[in-house]
Symmetry: C2
Subunit: 279 residues, 2 copies
DNA sequence: CGCGTTCTTGACTCCTATCAAGGAACGTGG
DNA sequence: CCACGTTCCTTGATAGGAGTCAAGAACGCG
């Protein structure tokens, strides 16, 4: 029932649980997906690089919206959520972050983070200071009214270090486009199905079982993120359970019939046929 | 009734209506908003720069989805729409483009455009070849499986030319975020109100009257873009007309009570109070 | 054990989509 | 100039999906 929890522990073992300057990129498990590693590989990393890793407790924030932008973050372990509080004081969940993923890039233009990010469970993150991308010492990165313009000053020397940033931004754009599509064109059931498949794929990419999901976020967070009512989420979980597509035990979800789930998302109301084929 | 059409003509006068290599950036009206100008200012532009301007007839496309990416575009005059055809053959409108605005940036990561773009009326565009950003001759930009990685090769020389690209991408991200918010949290009426305000602001920025809008797109395009039924758009126009917030004459929209329109978008169903205050 | 938080389930309402029909503008050809 | 078809838009009737309101259940915690 909680093999997932064991996985979390297993991953945590490889991490340094105290905040410290990172001298360990060479041995970091996340190398293949880390934009920082791309930049520092072959270089000597020292305390002045500004790379920092840190353990975050559940509910604790990494940064808050309107904090001064001073770098992007990579999740080493644990799960995080992004959100902002709108003019009416209502929370808007803007995303969830899994091990190996990046967040905080959105602050780069204005010089301030747009979202707050907080831990859903105990996790550890790696801060990648902007200076690593610009190639300039961190202290020089005084952020003016137009941060991006200032960036150009830092690129007098050699290969542009912005390519990894652009990759991240491109990925952000295409993820946002998918969200627009989901919110605009999909009914509640397909939206939730898409969400589950997305979580599943990202869990798999982080080394977890794609069919055993532990949702670290509440129903409220999910409903807010998917722009649905909390009750709708609850009803849909029950419905998918009744259709034997998933099993639901509080926040532990098992995907019992992946093809049916995929068909549901793709083909609208044709889930029965897929169910017949595979169950 | 058609003061807007006159404006279009006025702007067109300043443009070169045939496709030709651009030697006129120095005198271009769009300089302040053009990322290309930022790159070429102070330089001699010749035929080899690859800058190209072109007149597009209504309904004609600039490029099609899955065409090979070979640069981004700026609207010099006229109005354009972006869209793609999904797996089921259904058109999805992804945006509209006004004079001075940029499109085509989304192709940069994959090396292929994601959307098709076509003219809603007669217009002219300026193609800004990727080489202008990378600083390499156009012929060298052979696009591999990972286009962005290749970009790094082109940045051995001097100031990073990617800063303007990153600015555009940042703007794209924040516009997409607004769309997510609109689709997720706003009811149909507020969605359409937001759309009208957006059009109005962009028209104003392009030098038109913010209160006299000519919609170059059909109701179908609007409904598709806003993810609403065509009939809903029609009904809401009628309703806003009845409330004296706008007047509607086919595609000519007059904003009669801007504060009420803004209040409607902000405060939900409180439009009557704003109407009382200002009308 | 009691309490608060989180989640589930039911009843009802409302917004928007869908289906259907008709009207207005436009271009074409007679 | 008018008849005609086409496209685009409007308006009405109806239905369904998801939200809201409300009550209760399950779990965690002190």
């Amino acid at each position: 029932m909680n093999g997932i929890v064991q996985n979390v522990v297993a991953i945590n073992r490889d991490h340094h649980e105290r905040a410290s300057h990172c001298r360990h990129c060479q041995s970091c498990m996340k190398k293949p997906v880390c934009p920082a590693y791309e930049l520092v590989s072959g270089q000597q990393l020292d305390g002045e690089s500004g790379m920092l890793q840190k353990t975050i407790q559940p509910g604790q924030s990494v940064f808050r919206a309107s904090d001064k932008f001073d770098g992007i973050y990579m999740v080493r372990s644990g799960f995080f959520k992004s959100f902002f509080i709108d003019a009416d004081g209502v929370m808007q969940v803007t995303g969830f972050h899994f091990p190996g993923e990046i967040f905080g890039i959105d602050g780069i233009e204005t010089g301030f983070y747009n979202d707050s990010v907080e831990a859903l469970d105990t996790g550890s993150i790696c801060k990648i200071p902007l200076s690593l991308f610009t190639g300039s010492p961190a202290r020089k990165s005084s952020i003016g009214s137009d941060n991006l313009l200032n960036l150009s000053e830092y690129n007098m020397n050699g290969i542009s270090r912005m390519v990894p940033l652009m990759k991240i931004m491109s990925r952000t754009i295409s993820r946002d486009r998918n969200m627009i599509f989901a919110l605009g064109k999909l009914c509640a059931k397909r939206r939730l199905g898409t969400f589950l498949l997305d979580i599943s794929a990202r869990m798999a990419q982080s080394g977890y079982d794609a069919n055993q999901l532990h949702l670290f976020m509440s129903r409220t967070d999910i409903s807010n993120y998917l722009c649905l009512a909390l009750e709708t989420i609850s009803r849909l979980f029950a419905q998918l359970h009744a259709e034997n597509i998933i099993s639901v035990d509080r926040r532990d979800i098992k995907i019992l019939n992946m093809p049916a789930l995929q068909a549901l998302v793709r083909d609208d109301a044709t889930s029965e046929s897929a169910l017949a084929q595979t169950a």
